[in-house]
Symmetry: C2
Subunit: 282 residues, 2 copies
């Protein structure tokens, strides 16, 4: 069994990285790991010769009104899960390591970050792309693994890697769900039992729209309306957006033709949840 | 003698790069090479096991009013010089390779790009840092070599590499000058004989300020005034800025204490020239 080595300083990371067999697979996380994260680690183990995981609750992707302080943390449990999953190296950078006082360089993806999450969380993706660039440059993986749960993030990262010629293959892995359909998320821990039940409306809405599409409905506004109706029927849910967009450009569609993305953000009480389904071209 | 291999496509670059002995030293240029560029290649040959040079007149660092179209080019001569200088690999990317139609990712260094060149050339450094990131990610050098002639650019690149954890050592090499003191620049080719003579005022102004400093004058405004006076005395010269700033932060000084930078931008006719002297701490 692998022994999980842990490092904090970048110099220690680089030393440990040099000794890892290549190709190196990398799974960046914010910790409080669930089965979704572990599916990324599992895929990385299959594809790569070594697996590096980072846990870093990145302050620059949270707005002042976001849940940075409240974001759940359980390093002891995370470490045990990663050890068991066969991870070789765990990097635990601190905000001081990542953002020294004179830090002033940002990576920004322009068009793809504008719609959807971008309208509700200005600056969020700039924080994501900047920290992922830093993580990539420090770890120097040949492959990196992201979840389809954060569909826009995955699209933004793919675009960044292509635009900046980063020598890294990006894998985007399917959403892992609870038995009743709720997408795994570290933020699910915020939900009380009533809210947990109400949160199923996201999956129900996506399923309904997908079923309608499979039955022949290709009018995108009609699919969005199907999703809206189901969310509005749930008293504890407050809809932020529903979208039926091109899978790669995230531009809203009139008619579903090629690979497309149904997605939404919904507040259940104080908790903001996102979910999505990919519609494959028929 | 090395045979200079030339590539255009990134995939060909990556293939050729894999076969180079490490560490790899990289000299990014815009071509029309002079002794300043060749001093960077020479240093790279001393420090690294292989040397890669790129020639790319990067459109995103030119403003619409800049001299992108007029920028001098002589690939045949450049290639001969690089062959003779013992370069292993020459990358000649095209604008189409570097900036496909859906390109939308930018790297931006914030504070350091604001003063000096930043006030006169908005967007210039964003183009520089973005293309240098792309070149670095494609070439994957262990070392990269820049000229002190573009002092602010060197400071911006150093900051970017540090902020984004790029695994690259940055070397900044001294300005190479013509026998009469004019700093080598591809843009010197724009100067007619009268302008070429007038252009010496930059070096004279810097020398005068440095001599004054060495004689004990540490008041920064007095040093700036010395430089202004000499530039204003040259009828063909139009001063854009003079600066006496901290070497690392580029913040204008009141009193010269540590390592500092005397710099200026001057128009001689239609040609914009920059030059600088480093004041070492005494």
């Amino acid at each position: 069994m692998n022994v999980l080595k842990q490092v904090t300083q970048i110099s220690h990371l680089r030393d440990a990285r040099k000794r890892l067999p290549e190709p190196v697979g990398f799974v960046p996380t914010m910790g409080y790991l669930h089965a979704g994260h572990l599916s990324l680690v599992k895929r990385a183990r299959e594809e790569a010769a070594s697996v590096v995981v980072s846990i870093f609750v990145n302050p620059t992707q949270f707005a002042p009104t976001d849940d940075l302080e409240a974001y759940p943390r359980d390093l002891e449990r995370d470490t045990a899960l990663l050890q068991e999953a066969g991870v070789d190296l765990l990097w635990l950078p601190t905000p001081e390591v990542m953002y020294p006082p004179d830090f002033q360089t940002w990576v920004n993806v322009e068009s793809l970050t504008q719609p959807l999450e971008g309208t509700k969380r200005p600056g969020h993706f700039r924080g994501v792309t900047t920290v992922v660039t830093k993580l990539f440059n420090a770890v120097q993986p040949q492959m990196a693994f992201f979840g389809q749960k954060d569909a826009q993030q995955a699209a933004v990262i793919r675009q960044m890697v292509k635009d900046l010629n980063m020598p890294i293959e990006i894998f985007v892995e399917p959403i892992v769900r609870e038995p009743d359909g709720l997408a795994m998320s570290s933020r699910n821990t915020y939900l009380n039992p009533k809210e947990r039940q109400a949160a199923l409306c996201l999956y129900r809405a996506l399923e309904a729209a997908q079923t309608t599409y499979q039955a022949g409905q290709t009018n995108a506004e009609s699919l969005r309306e199907t999703m809206r109706t189901i969310i509005h029927a749930e008293p504890l849910a407050e809809l932020e957006y529903v979208s039926c967009a091109d899978y790669d450009t995230l531009v809203e569609l009139e008619t579903v033709k090629g690979k497309s993305l149904l997605s939404m953000a919904v507040r259940i009480g104080k908790t903001r949840l996102i979910d999505n389904h990919v519609l494959e071209a028929v």
